[in-house]
Symmetry: D2
Subunit: 352 residues, 4 copies
């Protein structure tokens, strides 16, 4: 049996999602987000997050991230993020492009989470000095690039530092659902109640073909003395200017509606996380395998003998290796990862 | 009966297209364009255009246009286009954003087509003068913003001027199929054989939900002494940097495959153009209606009494008005416009 | 006798200016504008303009213009200016570069002055429509590119239109002194009292080697509900970011101090304007010479037989020709143009 | 006696320089670099560097650096430089602005010099991967930000790594003369013969008011298969576009001519370096003072008791402190630092 743990972006869409897409392809609808579906997505997200918010649908995670940040920083600012985050590692120079040439400053910290002491130190430096780029925004990744998850308390420490400096906070939630299931808290608790102002609410990695929502939280911004209206205005114009305003927006809104209906998004993420937990538990028992960072959501980095890697690949299992230190592999589960596939992988590793 | 002539972007997708999308949503596929479907789309377009080419799929027409041009101009250049083209009228400042702050110079000319005399004059000005932005590329729209179509001979005149100055030519083919059906020539004859180097091959307005192909023609660029490899390299990096590289690329490639299979794209455009011809013929006979620009493809601008406009809207017909001079309305047909709807519109106008 | 009417940028500096530069080269001074001279320039300009203001010294006119505008427009905005202004004709794509890819829209109007009817019409279009670039600022040139001068009343009409739309107004005053002398009003009357918010106060063309002041007027901005502090903050960071913050700022402040001392700037401009008036009066009497636009300051465009142009050039007179319609030449006088040189030119033209 | 070791940018200009400026202020000269002086500067630098080159004069060091790099990198590239270099520490986001949103990647290494092993490792990563920014240029600082100097052999190691990857090399030579005197080699040996392609040839910190030369070396670029003509073309247009093309260019060329005449530039740097050597020798003998990095040119970082810092400041000596770790001060000598001032500083420190 062949199973791929390559990434959660290799799986297609949940049945409910593509049925919704099919329906959306029928009949006429007003373009550019003036369809009924888009309005409903906003209403559904407002209910889910229990607050006033505004939503901008786009079709890629990079677009969601860089557009979000472009509305938060002046071009002479610096955006503080973890040195191993997706923005800095996997999005080419999209961040600088969209932010008009602002700088993205990588901060270190264990488990791919921003170290609050370093953050505080950097934020306090050279304020008002025209020679230095000015700390202007903070971006956190939830789930992080190595599969760890900030606790709500950890998030709060980061956002408090940002808040005391008047800086807005963006969350890259490409795997938002997986993080939420891992923490077991509410969407509100993991975002605006924890000081997050703008969220990339990812769906593409969790059962949707191509749909991400930029969510702007009103109360959070206003508590910092920042203008919700201005961020919303910037995003409206910048989405179009980036070429990310779909004419047949219903393609995106239909996917997002299905994703948010009947808790599909939670169900999918729960499955992915459960499969990862099973995988991790199985691998832990194998003497030659070393878990690098304990997986909290649906991604695991572990280390194994090169011969074991070869063997597993020859057996037909898919995963990335060769991108990090020797012997390190990455395993990712998705809403569609079969339980038998996980078991087969563990068995094969043990067999070796 | 209620029919909308608002735009061709209000219609959804052809059956074959959404069936293909449904299939694409199943199973696993490699991300970021490494799926089989993307390779097949390139092969299909190479066959269709009868030449060496490279293809970059994106999900919006604006992205196709501005990415294409971003690979052709330095930031100190000027892109010459018609003053009423989509780039200048309907894409915010996406052109300047993607072209790094190059200038877009609007040229006049009848029927929304670039006047070759003006073009030649501007291209010849202040070459090498650092104070003046340097003519660096030409962009033509086929179909134009008012529904006219360049003949192949007209295109050739424009591209010859560009060629003699060593400038690359981009074609905004958001309605490529409609133009091709109108001219009755081959895709090759309307593009690289006529001196076009990079094409925005639109599909979204003609039966697809969200898929456009940037097509780069090798021989055309090389005849001008420009590097095909360099343009292709730039597009690869710039698509990612613009946030336009879809992870689940098969969503785009599946649509495009279906669109190109069994001549669906021609069938759809033929229907749209036929409906427009019928609409135009009907309206011509009505004394109070004045055709502004003879529709050659699927778009018509005409002038009618305000009371007639009100009447038609109250009867439930959809179309844009109030954006141009008083009394001017725009009518657009699509692959899905029903014949009875066209007849009903003509009847209603005549009845009034 | 050989005299050059080529441009006012070919003359060097007034004696007082280079003596001040010499003194500034002695001893130590704090860098980056923290020298005493820079503070004094601000005080002198505040007195001259009779209001609260902030000053940013730079060394080129293009820098003054494009930095000013960069602080006034978002990147999705459009800056409205005359189609023949310096920004659009002679500064490469510096405007788009500094404004982050905003668009510069050329408006027509007689005598190189913005037509208020056209301005009003454009400003009112498509407000809030994300597909269209949004009118965000207005820039006027005083003196214009063809040597005409807006009256205070004409300025007021333009700025009133801007004000009613909440848009800031920039004035390109590369030849500010020449315009002021022409109008005979006070600096305040020609700027903030007439609705100008940010001024490029030029000195380089009028007796200084390289020094221009960006002047930001507090009350004018605040009357429009715009933030003076924000514009000042943006300029501080953007000047550095543009590479325009001189370390030995006293080179610029010394020139500007000398320029503003003992009315040197008025004396110089009065001389240049007087020489132009004499030149114009002389040329008017010559049958073959046609004044294109009546010179109000120190620049004149006129038309003469090609043979006369040749003759004058052979006689050793310098001026630009061949850049406009056949037979058109441009004559510019400066603070240093000798009276005998003007007479000699008139005599030579008459002789021919 | 009060002496300032604050920076070499607080001293004014050498006598020969301001005399040259005075002369340049007389009479007429063609604008925008078409004056005779600019041509002579190019000839003088070609002789000095013993090779074919092109020169672009600008008035600030930041402009020289960021313009140089803007001509060498695509916007999807990354420029590799030391993490503590001036580009990253003291030029706001000018680098990203001019490079169109390329990324600047800080590399560590002892003594503020790029570690070649790290450089080689980074250059080799993810070549061609559209998700990663592509190593596109290398920038070295000579003198570095902490006063150390690369040996020619050290430079060669860095540039060889760049060359084997086909990457151009820029040198920030804001203190070029001080480095050259420290090494005792020829200008050619420290630049193009050592693999440097584009140089910011600083003069402002060494006896000039405001003049820097961007020097482009032909043979070096061509050995890497890069086009000299293209870099020169880019710089021509980009200097204007940045607002850095002076109309009265003779202000810059006159300074540079004087600077290069009669070895003034060497004499000035020799004095500054000698004063620093004397200062360092004196401080070494004082028990409480710890030299942080041995000064090789005209800049020294040392550590001393806080009470000693206070005492020296009260005695009237100027220097920066409080910007680095507690107790660290920076001392900089210039062409004008008096010997007695150095002695007085040593005496005061010893006395304490």
């Amino acid at each position: 049996m062949k199973v791929a743990f390559t990434s959660d972006n290799i799986a297609g869409a949940s049945d409910a999602v593509f049925h919704a897409m099919m329906e959306a392809a029928q009949g006429d609808a007003m373009p550019y987000g003036h369809d009924d579906g888009t309005a409903q997505v906003t209403a559904m997200l407002a209910e889910l997050f229990e607050c006033d918010l505004e939503v901008f649908l786009v079709s890629t995670g990079t677009a969601a991230n860089v557009l979000s940040i472009s509305a938060l920083t002046p071009p002479w600012g610096s955006v503080l993020c973890h040195q191993d985050c997706h923005l800095l590692k996997d999005e080419s120079t999209a961040p600088e492009f969209y932010a008009g040439g602002a700088r993205f400053v990588g901060i270190n910290g264990a488990d791919a989470k921003i170290d609050p002491v370093v953050l505080k130190n950097i934020i306090g430096q050279k304020k008002g000095d025209v020679h230095s780029c000015q700390a202007s925004a903070v971006s956190v990744s939830q789930v992080t690039e190595i599969g760890s998850v900030y606790s709500v308390a950890e998030l709060q420490v980061i956002t408090d530092i940002a808040k005391s400096a008047g800086l807005p906070v963006h969350m890259d939630g490409a795997r938002f659902a997986n993080a939420l299931i891992a923490l077991g808290c509410s969407p509100a608790e993991m975002t605006w109640k924890a000081g997050v102002d703008v969220l990339s609410f990812g769906a593409t990695k969790n059962g949707v073909m191509a749909a991400e929502a930029i969510v702007v939280f009103k109360s959070s911004l206003e508590e910092k003395g920042l203008s919700f209206e201005r961020v919303v205005q910037e995003l409206g114009f910048r989405r179009k200017r980036g070429g990310h305003l779909h004419s047949k927006m219903r393609l995106l809104s239909a996917q997002m509606q299905a994703y948010l209906t009947d808790d599909l998004w939670r169900t999918n993420a729960t499955h992915a996380n459960t499969m990862m937990a099973m995988l991790q538990d199985g691998l832990k028992e194998i003497p030659d395998v070393v878990i690098e960072t304990p997986a909290q959501a649906n991604m695991l980095f572990c280390r194994m003998p090169l011969a074991m890697i070869d063997y597993l690949q020859k057996e037909g299992f898919g995963f990335y290796t060769g991108r990090w230190e020797e012997g390190v592999i990455r395993l990712v589960t998705s809403f569609r990862t079969p339980k038998e596939g996980v078991q087969a992988f563990i068995d094969a590793a043990r067999r070796f």
